[in-house]
């Protein structure tokens, strides 16, 4: 694509803009600021998951688990060892905080990446439905493990996390994430991910190491999810294992599906849209002039997720910006009324 040469400059520009914007963040309503930061975090999550689900075709339902690991590891490091670090480096100022924050975020990301490796390995033997359930299982196992770890508060949650996340951190990382993923996919090496999605057997036949691509996708996706988790923890200052459950994974999955699996721009857009929608729904449940039933549905947003998912799959499975797989019958074929055979038909 044409923007290949200016990508580096776009990245730099994005970082500078977010730094400048961050200076003015005091002028925005704190609630809106929080939402904008959440949007950024969701973009990172969705773009990471898109690498796994969209570009590599591995259906992963446990993304919240990676986020949780990143959140807890970074929170633990900054809370337990932050004071020691500041003593060592000689004071709490912008520089030392930045170093600490970068350090804990990367630590969280790496921890999540290790988890991504562990989850990615079974994915080599599993396809489709089985992989989905195993990743779901891993997400739940991670959550249960955290819940049973008293050192980080267990079911009571972990509070008192320092509030380091600002617009600058969030959006520079968003920019970096998008840059990395897009550059990766656009490269010669990166085309390999797409081949794994499109036809694994053909890919192996031409010498693509599908194993390496699948594991890389999981590890990278998990790494970014871990960083997003760290940002999240240092924004809300309180985290609880129940906030990283299957529902959270599904929220991110919906962003990826809505945006179109395999389109970074699409999932970014979908992440923004859905985060805003979620917040709006929170308001709707407060409008007293709406009939009770609509308010209750709004309050129970998972019903809406589920209907959105079903409607999307029935009406527009490629999401907003994705593409339909171009195999088999052309899309506009004549509608012949005949019974469709199940997929294992010869």
């Amino acid at each position: 694509m044409n923007y290949r040469h200016i990508k580096k400059w776009l990245l730099l520009a994005a970082i500078i803009v977010s730094a400048v914007a961050s200076q003015f963040s005091g002028a925005i309503n704190a609630y809106y600021l929080q939402i904008i930061i959440f949007i950024g975090i969701n973009i990172i999550l969705a773009v990471g998951l898109n690498l796994i689900n969209g570009y590599t075709g591995q259906f992963s339902l446990g993304h919240a688990g990676f986020m949780a690991i990143g959140a807890y590891v970074s929170a633990y490091l900054s809370t337990e060892h932050g004071a020691g670090f500041f003593r060592a480096i000689g004071g709490t100022n912008f520089f030392s905080i930045s170093v600490l924050f970068t350090g804990v975020l990367i630590a969280g990301g790496l921890a999540a990446a290790v988890a991504g490796l562990i989850v990615g390995v079974p994915s080599l033997r599993l396809k489709g439905d089985y992989l989905a359930i195993v990743t779901l299982g891993f997400g739940e196992i991670i959550r249960v493990l955290i819940q049973n770890t008293d050192a980080v508060g267990g079911p009571r949650g972990y509070s008192g996390i320092a509030s380091y996340t600002t617009l600058f951190w969030t959006y520079s990382i968003v920019a970096i994430t998008i840059y990395v993923v897009v550059s990766l996919i656009d490269s010669t090496y990166g085309r390999g991910f797409l081949t794994v999605r499109d036809d694994e057997i053909a890919a192996e036949a031409v010498g693509i190491n599908t194993t390496r691509y699948k594991v890389t996708a999981f590890v990278l996706g998990a790494f970014f999810a871990g960083i997003a988790g760290g940002l999240y923890a240092h924004s809300t200052t309180y985290i609880n294992p129940s906030g990283f459950d299957f529902q959270r994974s599904i929220e991110i999955v919906i962003m990826v599906i809505l945006g179109g699996m395999g389109s970074t721009a699409g999932v970014t857009f979908a992440a923004i849209l859905l985060t805003l929608l979620l917040e709006y729904l929170r308001f709707v449940s407060g409008y007293e002039w709406l009939p009770e039933i609509i308010r209750r549905i709004a309050a129970n947003r998972v019903i809406i997720y589920s209907l959105v998912l079903i409607a999307l799959m029935l009406l527009r499975p490629q999401g907003l910006f994705g593409q339909l797989p171009r195999r088999g019958l052309p899309i506009g074929s004549a509608r012949v009324k005949r019974t469709k055979l199940p997929p294992h038909a010869a």
Binding site: L61, S306, V308, I310, L312, L314, T339
Partner: protein
């Protein structure tokens, strides 16, 4: 552990396993005919329990005096019918239009249906747990010595065995059953032989859902606290059981369910009791890595 404790745990395990077996049968049948894992199946189990909850007060008053024992049976049959209809409706609305689409699309739809049933259930029934009515008196049986077998456990065993026998009869001795097996084996040939694909698939869904509904009622009798999210964990465990037995294999699902029930009960009674739920996942990962075909499954040759 003494031998009495061992046998007691075994009985409890088989009792738990019976529920998993009933749900697993639904998974395995649908996979057999459609090569698709119906994520929403566990939630049909939940709906079955709630059907029982709402039907009991309306149905039981008609069965007084000498007919009292038939009351719970009526509730069971009505629930199975309702769940069968639900299963058929879900297939028709959400899965049939997508039959020619990639597997991923159907999988996502199934997740959507599952979430819809769970949270729709929360919306309609309320999220708080309800107390399932006592359809039959729950006493320990006399004369079993040191072992405790409750009437509920016995009833669950008996109903499960009856349903299993009925299912085997349907699958092996009726034309529809033969059609199911044909469809599972080779859909093109089945269609050429005059099998109505849509009808058979609907029937399969209905049958599997009816069994899940029955499991819902039996489960609620033993664990009377029901809530709309109760189907998620048993659903996943039943899926593990189906895979353990060899997905697509009907006796395998039953055996897998029993094995899982026993393993889970023993783990629950041991030092690792907090990991009782995780054992199912661990088992799944182990099977899928070392013997993905399951106990009775045949390894599928993938033709390129």
């Amino acid at each position: 552990m003494s031998s009495t404790e061992f046998i007691q745990q075994l009985i409890n395990g088989l009792s738990l396993g019976a529920f998993y077996a009933l749900i697993a049968l639904g998974y395995t049948m649908v996979y057999g005919v459609l090569r698709f894992i119906n994520f929403a199946h566990g939630d049909v189990f939940m709906i079955g329990a709630f059907c029982g909850y709402y039907l009991s007060p309306r149905v039981l008053p008609y069965f007084t005096g000498g007919l009292t024992p038939l009351g719970p049976v009526a509730v069971l049959i009505l629930t199975m019918l309702a769940c069968a209809l639900l299963g058929i409706a879900i297939e028709k609305l959400a899965y049939r239009p997508l039959r020619s689409r990639p597997k991923l699309t159907v999988l996502i739809t199934a997740i959507g249906v599952s979430l819809f049933l769970e949270y729709g259930g929360q919306f309609v029934f309320g999220a708080d747990p309800k107390s399932f009515p006592e359809l039959m008196p729950d006493r320990a049986l006399e004369g079993t010595g040191a072992l405790t077998i409750t009437t509920t456990q016995l009833a669950a065993f008996i109903v499960t065995i009856i349903l299993l026998v009925a299912l085997t009869f349907i699958v092996k001795r009726t034309r529809l059953g033969m059609a199911m097996r044909a469809l599972s084996n080779n859909p093109t040939a089945a269609a050429l032989m005059g099998v109505n694909i849509d009808t058979v698939i609907s029937f399969t869904f209905g049958l599997g859902s009816a069994l899940a509904g029955a499991a819902g009622i039996l489960f609620a009798l033993s664990y009377p606290s029901i809530d709309p999210l109760m189907g998620l964990l048993p659903g996943i465990k039943a899926f593990v059981a189906a895979v353990l037995g060899g997905i697509g294999n009907i006796p395998g699902a039953a055996v897998g369910g029993l094995i899982l029930g026993v393993v889970e009960t023993f783990v629950g009674g041991s030092v690792f009791s907090t990991y009782r739920d995780a054992i199912a996942f661990a088992l799944l990962i182990v099977i899928l890595l070392f013997r993905p075909a399951g106990i009775f499954g045949r390894t599928q040759v993938e033709k390129v």
